[in-house]
Amino acid sequence: MIAERRLPAHLDWPLIAAVVALAVIGLATIYSVTWDFRLSRPGPQFWTQLYAIPIGLLALGAALAIDYRTLAQRSLIFYAVLVVALIYVAVNGDTRMGAQRWMSIGRFSLQPSEFARIVMALVLAMTYGEGRRGTRTPSDLALGAILLGLPLFLIWRQPDFGTAATLAPVLLGIVFVAGMRMKWLVVGTLVAVLLSPVVWMYVLKDYQKDRVTTFLDPSKDPKGKGLQQIQAKVTVGSGGFLGKGFRQGSQGAYGFLPVAHNDFVFSVLAEEWGFLGVLVTLALYLFVLLRSLDAARLAKDRVGAFLVVGIISGFGFQVLYNITMSAGLAPVKGLTLPLMSYGGSSLVATLAGFGLILNVRMRRFAN
């Protein structure tokens, strides 16, 4: 157990620093955009977010304390808990802004769906990492799809199209690095594309269709659904090279850009800190992504590598999509920016995910 004692020395401190830096940048942006001009103080969202950071760091610590292999071996238990929690929310959850996503635990409320990504990464890493043959055939893909399908369906029905959509990259990322033949990946993607008209007709809800058509031509409805997209561009564009300065933005603070502290937190950052702030933040995210994938490269086994790739695929997809949307370049979906957007559950779950990534890297030499 000498190795165990030396573990903190193998902690990836640069990654932790970058992750915390992004969370603090997000916190500062929330402070700025929720500022109440009458009361001269930040909004309640700031305090929630502030408390979520230490809680999230505790979760991060917890996630790296136990060997990831132990966790992976028990991943089906987590999976069962997740499914039960999602069903509980569906039956008995709190409804906010038209979606039934929250469950109350004492004074806190929790979004189980935020933890789905970690659980799926554990389950799928276990499924593909421990198998003898690797993952090469369509039936391997189908197995993963079935495991993924249940929570994805439950989250979709909340409805939370955005969070549901981030589960798919977890599967795709893992099967890609697990050696799934490109042929089958292409076939799978083609099937998805061919199915999309069917999805459009029978599965997508009207508000989701509206978002897609509005994206294709935002000027059609500049006061309604196109508003967010146009105002996102205005917010980002008006920031310029150096930005308007901390708490000097008008677009987010005066409410021209809706949910600025949440889905569009990056737009506000771009407004107040300009292109320079955008570059710094993008560099931090890129560092986090590449450094995490480094953990996958160094992992001592496939479970560890797949676990990291699963978490990072979901995280990376959500980051890239949200930032693209923040610039008004993608349809508006209820998809937050991990680490920066307002949301306690999301922040705690994301930090816990990084705990697992650190876990894998830390134990690369251990047996």
């Binding site: 990322g173 008006s238 955008v278 570059l279 590449l290 994938l293 490269r297 590598a305």
Partner: protein
């Protein structure tokens, strides 16, 4: 533990991880480029857009310039009107707010709702206050202020509005103000004005709108996406009060004039001028209206009442009414005859109750016997002026009428003046494609037929006679103070024409006009001891005698009366016209003229003003009757003087 393919697997894993890392780096770089385009390349476009989002300008109305009379007394001023407004942006529940406000101001809810609904349907920006109660009473203001806590969305604003202290007095001089109409926006004279601006809609308020308006100010505020004001205003441009103006009007005479009409029980129009300059000392058109009604926005019922009134109070009869001047025109015929040398003051005509010209008999009221020019004017002898007319070409009469100010517009600084008309060959050819018949000249000579002139044109004509032949332009402004730096006199408009007349000829005409008032003429009611008032009456037929019976059931068929005058006879100081609508005869207008002139001379000589008359009514039976001819070709029995 490792199975045989482990190494291969390891290789494949590393390759695919590398592919993943490269594609992530490419995606992030692409995003950086996208942000560069938005934030650096297209920055200016989006910056302007963002500014439009949150900067708002709230207009602050400038008080209009104050109008003074020629002695510095206030004629038109401004007052603060209290407007109770609803700030939609502060309203959580609009219906509840309407209920509370209606209760506070004591109005039915529907009345409070109407302007709010209008503003909403007009898509007014949410930060603009909605005026709910304009010209709120003090009780309403107090009620709202007392309940300010319950009515956080209600405010009382002070807005400067026009005040016309004497209500209807001088309404047709001042005009009224109103919100700019859609069809007025964008006209050159209203350049730079937008919807909701207040402008002069007629009268002096309109003609001098630019000088009087001043410049509205504005307050720049920062608003959020629902239009709520945030923080302190960014700055305020104070409104600049409009330029002050001194009118040529004399308040005492203006009051005397309108009192005179009321005492006579008549409607009509009048103007009193300084014949040397054309300054208008008093003028009116009756019935009139109260411009205060318009000052804060007139409601539909009141507007319909004014425009639908058969007596047409909105029309300025002085410059918009056109009438046959009747015997007043004989002054023009006399001057044309003298000027052209076809008669001298001693030229005599024997009147046998009429005369025959071009094979037709033209009537006179009496058999006046032998008449010279002076007596022909005094007695208003038609036969004499028929004869003068027969010696003149119509184009010569037209020429003199033009020089005297009876043709076209006088150029008075009021909007909507119509052209006065005196017949001529060119006019008849243009209008009827017919030659002029000499018989028509005979009618024109006594102011019938092809003569249709405004009262202000007749006032200009008599001023020209009074000042010795210079056609001045009637005008209303003496001095302006555009910026509060002091009064700058406004130069008198240049004379428009000059009639060359021998002194003895002019004197003969003036003598005749003096005799009308002071000897045996029809103007005796205007006589003022020692003032040598000189004048001439005239009657304008409303309908011909033959049509009179038929029309009398549906309209007022009583004839109009004119009285043109100046005083004193030598070196006149005042000249003008009183037009008595349906006054039956010109002599009905004379007492009004007399009362105003008495006021004028009393002021000049520092005497106390004459007491307001109780009645200046003229009994119909007291009127002398005269013969009138119709137009040149269809002469019939009638009355004229």
């Amino acid at each position: 533990m490792l199975h045989p393919g482990a190494f291969e697997h390891r290789q494949g894993l590393q390759t695919r991880l590398l592919a993943l890392r490269i594609s992530l780096a490419v995606c992030v770089s692409a995003l950086a480029v996208a942000f560069w385009i938005l934030q650096v390349v297209q920055h200016q476009k989006y910056e302007a857009w963002a500014d439009r989002n949150y900067l708002r300008t709230i207009p602050l109305r400038a008080p209009r310039g104050v109008l003074f009379d020629r002695e510095g007394r206030v004629l038109v001023e401004n007052r603060d009107s209290f407007t109770i407004v609803l700030l939609r942006e502060r309203t959580a529940n609009l219906n509840a707010a309407i209920t509370r406000l209606a209760e506070a101001v004591g109005w039915p809810e529907a009345r409070v709702r109407e302007p709010i609904q209008k503003a909403i349907s007009r898509k007014d920006p949410v930060f603009l206050p909605i005026p709910v109660v304009e010209h709120a009473t003090l009780a309403q203001v107090v009620a709202v202020k007392a309940r300010q806590l319950e009515l956080p969305e209600v405010q009382v604003l002070q807005v400067p509005v026009r005040r016309y202290p004497d209500d209807e007095l001088g309404a047709h001089v001042f005009g009224y103000v109103g919100e700019i109409r859609d069809d007025q926006i964008g006209r050159p004279e209203y350049a730079g004005l937008e919807a909701r601006a207040w402008i002069g809609q007629t009268g002096v308020e309109r003609v001098y709108n630019k000088q009087l308006m001043g410049e509205d100010g504005s307050r720049n505020v920062v608003v959020n996406s629902v239009g709520r004001e945030i923080g302190e205003p960014l700055g305020q441009d104070d409104p600049r009060e409009g330029g002050r103006m001194q009118l040529t009007i004399d308040y005492d005479m203006q009051k005397a004039l309108e009192d005179g009409f009321h005492a006579a029980g008549l409607n009509g129009a009048a103007a009193f001028l300084d014949p040397a300059t054309g300054e208008i000392l008093a003028m009116t058109s009756l019935p009139s209206y109260d411009p205060n009604v318009f000052a804060g926005g007139i409601d539909r019922t009141a507007w319909a009442g004014l425009t639908g009134d058969p007596l047409n109070p909105m029309s300025n009869r002085l410059i918009q009414g056109k009438y046959a001047p009747g015997s007043v025109f004989k002054i023009v015929t006399a001057i044309a005859g003298l000027g052209e040398g076809v008669i001298t003051p001693d030229f005599k005509v024997t009147c046998n109750g009429g005369a025959t010209f071009y094979g037709r008999f033209f009537q006179c009221l009496h058999s006046h016997g032998v008449m010279d020019l002076r007596h022909a004017i005094e007695q208003s002898c038609n036969t004499y002026f028929y004869t003068v007319g027969s010696k003149l070409d119509i184009d010569k009469i037209y020429e003199y009428a033009t020089k005297l100010g009876l043709v076209g517009k006088t150029g008075i600084d009021l909007p909507g003046e119509v052209d006065s008309l005196v017949g001529s060959r060119a006019w008849k050819q243009r209008e009827y494609k017919q030659p002029w018949y000499p018989g028509e000249t005979i009618s024109v000579a006594i102011g019938q037929g092809a003569v249709s002139v405004t009262p202000i044109a007749l006032a200009t004509m008599i001023s020209t006679v009074a000042n010795g032949g210079t056609r001045v332009t009637p005008h209303l402004v003496r001095a302006v103070d555009p910026d509060g730096q002091g009064w700058k006199p406004v130069p008198m408009p240049a004379p428009r024409a000059k009639v060359e007349l021998r002194q003895e000829d002019l004197q003969a005409v003036r003598d005749g006009l003096w005799m009308v008032v002071n000897e045996h003429g029809t103007g005796g009611r205007a006589r003022i001891e020692g003032k040598d008032v000189s004048g001439k009456t005239g009657t304008a037929q409303v309908v011909s005698l033959t049509g009179r019976q038929a029309a009398s059931a549906t309209m007022d068929v009583r004839d109009h009366g004119f009285f043109v005058f100046f005083a004193p006879r030598d070196n006149p100081k005042i000249a003008g016209i009183v037009f008595a609508e349906h006054g039956i005869h010109g002599s009905a207008a004379a007492p009004i003229a007399k009362y105003v002139m008495e006021t004028f001379f009393a002021k000049r000589e520092g005497r106390p003003l004459p007491a307001p008359p109780t009645s200046l009514r003229v009994a119909p039976s007291a009127e002398p009757r005269e013969i009138q001819v119709g137009n040149g070709r269809a002469a019939g029995p009638g009355r004229d003087r």
